[in-house]
Symmetry: C2
Subunit: 416 residues, 2 copies
């Protein structure tokens, strides 16, 4: 047997119905918020991702040379491609520009529970002006998606990258050293973070205040601990979110989100049911367009880990829609086959999901198959009934059957 590559998945019909159901809810909610779908290629020039994330990213992605010697890579995320597309072709669009996308991403890492080499991301990006309205809009969309998909238990934590950055700057930390400290704080590796702050000549009191802020999580009141633009911006966002009815959120001043290109608000959503790997959404405002040769613009957005979100829903009992067929058409003997095909064609033309025996099976075996595909009705086409201009319709749930005139069949089966 030829296996599929490690860390990838095949999805059978049941799994696909569940996934399409979840995708449709996310897609619909983005449209309700006025976001519109875009799509970009599965691979990009590798440069796009090294500019965004640094050269080390190459170790973690599927990067290779094409036959023309060009360095290309399977996309590890979708924000950089969306911004490349914006810079190349969409920069003259009316603002705000509200975009969403859904698709595969790839990373080369050891496969583990809930983490795959091919995974799916749903995301939204908003290009607008830097007021709290823009940030509140994307947080509200992410929160509404969580509500619509029916996830029972999740936490939304909102912070601001400026709080810790400003504290480090005010303490005299060099702008090249600060990211190294923030990395450690992001991973909650406080001993290493403290050491790096000491190496940057920060005073013990300043250091402990930074660690304290990093651990500051709670309702909006915790913003009293800080002051300045970041505080005002977060207060503005929370005021709008309150009007939006999004009240199940916390301030978390320790959200750092690793990467350097975040510029202001940052937020994360996690699903505790997932345990250690619980983050299902991350986002914030960022600045990438100028790195890709465009003008600097304000952008804010998020990415939802589709697979992990589905896993969280499943752990909470989500099963997806039950599969069924509307009608199964069953010819009794070859003489009725032609008429059975005619009936199937009529029903299908009317949009009724209709299956028909293709295997020349006996009545008993066909009924078994109709059960296996969860057919709601079986239309039995027999010679005796056809001679009377009728067919037998069996309701598989009620277990009842009755004779229906051939010319009334479509009307009877078309709407139930």
């Amino acid at each position: 047997m030829i296996q599929r590559p490690r860390g990838t998945r095949d999805f059978g019909p049941e799994e696909m119905e569940k996934r399409r159901c979840l995708e449709a809810i996310m897609r619909r909610e983005a449209a309700v918020f006025g976001f519109r779908e875009i799509a970009t290629p599965i691979f990009e020039y590798t440069e796009l991702f090294t500019i965004r994330s640094g050269p080390n990213i190459i170790e973690e992605i599927y990067a290779f040379q094409d036959k023309g010697g060009r360095e290309i890579a399977l996309r590890p995320e979708l924000t950089a491609p969306a911004m490349r597309f914006y810079v190349n072709e969409l920069s003259n669009s009316a603002k705000p520009l509200k975009m969403f996308y859904f698709g595969q991403c790839f990373r080369y890492e050891r496969p583990q529970s809930g983490r795959f080499r091919e995974f799916f991301q749903f995301g939204a990006e908003l290009i607008s002006n830097p007021g709290p309205e823009s940030d509140a809009e994307v947080i509200a969309l992410a929160a509404s998606i969580m509500r619509r998909i029916g996830l029972k238990n999740y936490n939304i934590r909102v912070g601001h990258i400026g709080v810790l950055r400003n504290m480090l700057a005010e303490a005299g930390v060099d702008s090249e050293v600060a990211p190294l400290i923030l990395q450690k704080l992001d991973k909650k590796e406080y001993d290493e973070a403290r050491q790096r702050m000491r190496d940057a000549d920060m005073e013990e009191e300043q250091i402990e205040r930074v660690v304290d802020i990093t651990n500051t999580v709670g309702p909006i009141d915790v913003l009293d601990k800080i002051e300045g633009d970041a505080r005002d911006h977060l207060l503005g966002i929370f005021k709008i979110l309150e009007a939006y009815g999004v009240t199940d959120i916390e301030v978390d001043l320790g959200v750092v989100r690793g990467l350097d290109y975040y510029t202001g608000m940052v937020f994360e959503i996690d699903a505790p049911v997932l345990g250690a790997e619980k983050q299902i959404c991350g986002g914030g405002s960022y600045s990438l367009t100028e790195m890709f040769g465009g003008e600097k613009t304000f952008s804010t957005g998020f990415g939802i880990g589709f697979d992990r979100t589905l896993l969280a829903l499943e752990k909470e009992g989500f099963e997806g829609p039950a599969h069924s067929m509307d009608v199964y058409v069953l010819p009794v003997g070859d003489a009725c086959r032609q008429e059975a095909h005619r009936i199937a064609a009529e029903l299908r033309l009317a949009g009724v999901r209709t299956d028909i025996d293709l295997m020349g099976r006996s009545l008993a075996k066909s009924m078994k198959y109709a059960n296996a595909i969860n057919a709601q009705r079986v239309v039995i086409v027999g010679e005796k009934e056809l001679a009377q201009g009728a067919v037998t319709v069996r309701d598989m749930n009620a277990g009842e059957q009755r004779l229906v005139k051939r010319e009334e069949l479509l009307a009877k089966l078309g709407h139930y």
Copy 2:
């Protein structure tokens, strides 16, 4: 600026709405026929495609080594992955097994009009028994899709790989030489085909009869030219298709479909509006499972070139759905902003597609933006009206506006 890789495309909101509309029709029709969706990874072990298509395929695909030294390739088509999935995990499913898929495929070739390095394919595969019912079912689905998407001008040509293969076998042509002759006949390169037949010691009369059959296209009567199992099978298929109401089809005994793994019925659909590169669908019955380590099974299916099909529709005038927003909410001044957000949240919760000013724009500029996004209604939230417990609703198509009580707004806008 960082460009996207050559031969790939970005899709903006208008294009995506058109594509999703077409995809939804195909997807819906497959479901109406009782087919269910599956999905496989973007890349596979390269071996999967060389087993199916021979080692030369590597020159035409994106094949590379991953970091672990494994040979992997971006999938150039979706039948081999679907059959690999079947062999690995689905072989115990109830038969018939009816599957469809939609997704990106990749080939490394010089990009040209309507041909891309990243392209999209919609396809269906049916695993069943080898009666004419199975073949008729997949042809009927392909034909129904063409009808549903509204393509005005297309030709469906059905043939049988056995006709020419049998003629060559009866003329004593070696089974290893026959494919080389069939390749030339497939490309309508008759001089080379004749030469190869002469090299295989065929008589002139036999050769001209093969060329004549290759050019045999027409209504079902042309089957009188041949005899044997292939003829009976095609007659059986045409009889079922007639009952299915699929009558816009021709016999074409010259459909060879290049690849060796086809076993019986073969068919093609083309859209003459596309000119030289007019084929939009190809299919037939084939045998792949035993090459992938499974049991030999009868399978039949087709692939539709999604991009070319869309191009054909566009050349015939298809424009896709017009984009619109249901409601645009416009606060007049900052004092009304909080209430405007509340209104937007209410409407969105009710599933009304609602946009709201994020840029603090003036009334005039906001109306211009509402026009740009084709908003059907604008809800103007002003202080004076709010004091009366009301807002102004402007119908953008009629150009009329009226005062609506705040508590009646949702009922008024929720269903129009």
